[in-house]
């Protein structure tokens, strides 16, 4: 069995008096791809944003239970430090209105890296890691916004890699992309799995089946409170789900 990288114990999250997530216990294994699936509004993105504490930005959020990374409470870790270790790729590609180089160098520079050669090397390494280097190596001065949607998303992945995290969170990274660009992102996820722990939220069940090793199924009833229904090897979830609701969802009966 793999080492556990991220873990939640009896984790609940609330916005004011509204309970968004309830009693979630999950062990996310290291250097594996974990997919979070479920119908819209079931809290899977909110759950994802727990791990880099993006939810801290929302007024009125409070939590119960425990969230740990390698056994350490993530709320004890300095948030800037945590986000260097836990990178994130967003649903809509969001490169900064800066050059491709400056986009990738942004994180390292924020961390205080100023040496030109080291930066150039890191930028190349990260762009190669995101399978974008060959397409942009002659245009590093061009604005990141001038790239196509798929390239922009790979730029955002490169930007996240440049900070040298150990975990990468992906919030529906391909939902704004065309099928070919989607395929490239999926290939990339499979490659990144070698060195990173990846947690990906997706609406696309085939995608979850294609890229992930483990899958968690979230569901919410009338209360709008998200719950983790089932967490298992992706192969088990898709061939032999334990819960009726999981089966209904993956066979397309609702959601």
């Amino acid at each position: 069995m793999n080492n556990t990288k991220l873990e939640t114990k009896n984790y609940s999250m609330n916005y004011g008096s509204f309970r968004a997530l309830e009693d979630i216990n999950m062990q996310i294994p290291e250097k594996q791809v974990t997919a979070l699936i479920g119908p819209s509004g079931c809290g899977k993105s909110t759950f994802l944003r727990t791990f880099n504490r993006m939810n801290d930005l929302i007024p009125g959020v409070w939590i119960e239970g425990e969230v740990t990374m390698e056994g350490k409470d993530i709320f004890e870790i300095d948030v800037v430090n945590l986000r260097q270790q836990v990178g994130m790729v967003f649903q809509k590609p969001n490169p900064f209105p800066k050059s491709i180089f400056d986009n990738v160098a942004y994180g390292p520079r924020a961390n205080g890296l100023t040496d030109r050669n080291a930066l150039a090397e890191l930028v190349e390494h990260s762009l190669r890691g995101a399978a974008l280097w060959d397409e942009v190596k002659d245009d590093l001065d061009k604005s990141g916004l001038a790239l196509s949607g798929g390239q922009q998303q790979r730029l955002c992945i490169a930007r996240a890699l440049a900070v040298e995290p150990s975990v990468i969170l992906m919030d529906e990274p391909a939902s704004a992309l065309d099928p070919i660009a989607t395929l490239r992102i999926e290939e990339l996820i499979r490659e990144l799995r070698e060195n990173y722990t990846i947690v990906i939220v997706t609406h696309n069940m085939q995608q979850a089946a294609r890229v992930s090793d483990f899958t968690g199924f979230f569901y919410t009833g009338e209360s709008r409170t998200g719950k983790l229904i089932e967490f298992d090897l992706t192969r088990n979830i898709f061939t032999n789900p334990a819960d009726k609701r999981t089966e209904d969802y993956i066979t397309g009966r609702f959601g």
Binding site: M54, V80, N81, Q84, N94, P97, G107, A110, L145, R159
Partner: protein, 312 residues
């Protein structure tokens, strides 16, 4: 039965068709009427504008030559001489006012947008202060400029003993343009997409790094627009400077010197002398500088936004 039904159907169709036609022609008529009114309104506005600027510039050009631009006014009630020192004073005053108002205004806007809305602020006192400062900015924008002048006179000229000077005038001028800079900067900051902020924070940048490296550059066009609008405001202002800058026609030697901006000079010429043509000449130069400033706004904001979008 069948034929009856058919006649009714045809009749019904005819009615519908007629209704459509009359309705359509009525709507067309209404539209033309309102277009005409809008056009007339637009044309009158443009004509008034052209008449004012045209008259001033036409009259003014009789007085304008190189000599007019490079000789100082003679002073007193003669109305003789040119406007060279007033151009210099205007320039100094603009630079000084903007140098004071920009850091204050931009800083205040950053505070109001980025920090004051922070959910970590739990103190009721602080929240109250923030609400009050928002209200204050709104109110400041609506205050007649002579009030700023009186305030500047009371505080800077007499209480702080800066006298009639560039310093007093630029401090009072800064109070005048602060609301403009704060509001435009606030709007520019609010227009920066949340995804930029999230993207930066998610990379382990601190809040200040995010503001400094991502949010401010992205909102620069808006901020610059605010600054240039303020420049225009300072160039055209008389009331504030009438009571804080004094009226010396000499070139200011330091920030403690009194002086006379172009707009102020125009006021003196028009009120105290008979140098009508010189007043018009000064007015023409003023109008031309305002037009130039506006062209500069357009040019800069277009170039900057194009650069940000990645179209070079």
């Amino acid at each position: 039965m069948m034929s009856d039904n058919k006649t009714i159907e045809i009749q019904h169709e005819n009615i519908l068709l007629q209704q459509k036609k009359s309705n359509l022609s009525l709507r067309h008529a209404t539209q033309s009427a309102f277009f005409t009114i809008l056009w007339i309104g637009g044309i009158i506005t443009v004509l008034i504008l052209l008449a004012v600027t045209g008259y001033v510039i036409f009259q003014g050009f009789k007085a304008i030559d190189l000599q007019f631009l490079i000789t100082p006014p003679r002073g007193g009630l003669s109305g003789e001489g040119g406007i060279s020192t007033t151009i210099g004073t205007t320039l100094y005053l603009v630079l000084l006012t903007i140098a004071i108002a920009t850091p204050l205004g931009v800083g205040a806007a950053i505070f109001l947008v980025e920090y004051a809305s922070d959910n970590n602020i739990s103190s009721r006192f602080l929240k109250g202060m923030i609400g009050f400062s928002h209200f204050g900015v709104e109110t400041l924008a609506g205050i007649p400029s002579i009030i700023f002048g009186l305030f500047g006179y009371a505080l800077f000229v007499s209480t702080m003993k800066f006298g009639f000077s560039l310093l007093s005038a630029s401090l009072a001028g800064a109070c005048l343009v602060l609301p403009v800079i704060i509001r435009t900067t606030e709007e520019a900051l609010l227009a920066v997409p949340r995804s930029y902020r999230e993207g930066s924070l998610a990379l382990g940048a601190t809040k200040w790094q995010t503001i400094r490296k991502v949010v401010l550059p992205a909102s620069l066009p808006g901020i610059i627009t605010g600054i240039i609008l303020s420049v225009g405001r300072v160039v055209s202002e008389t009331a504030v400077f009438y009571v804080t800058l004094g009226g010396s026609y000499r070139m200011p030697k330091s920030i403690m010197s009194s002086g006379r901006t172009m707009a102020l000079h125009l006021y003196y010429l028009a009120m105290d002398t008979r140098a009508f043509e010189k007043a018009m000449g000064t007015g023409a130069i003023l109008i031309l500088s305002i037009i130039l400033i506006n062209l500069l706004i357009n040019f800069l904001s277009r170039r900057l936004t194009a650069g940000l979008r990645g179209v070079q």
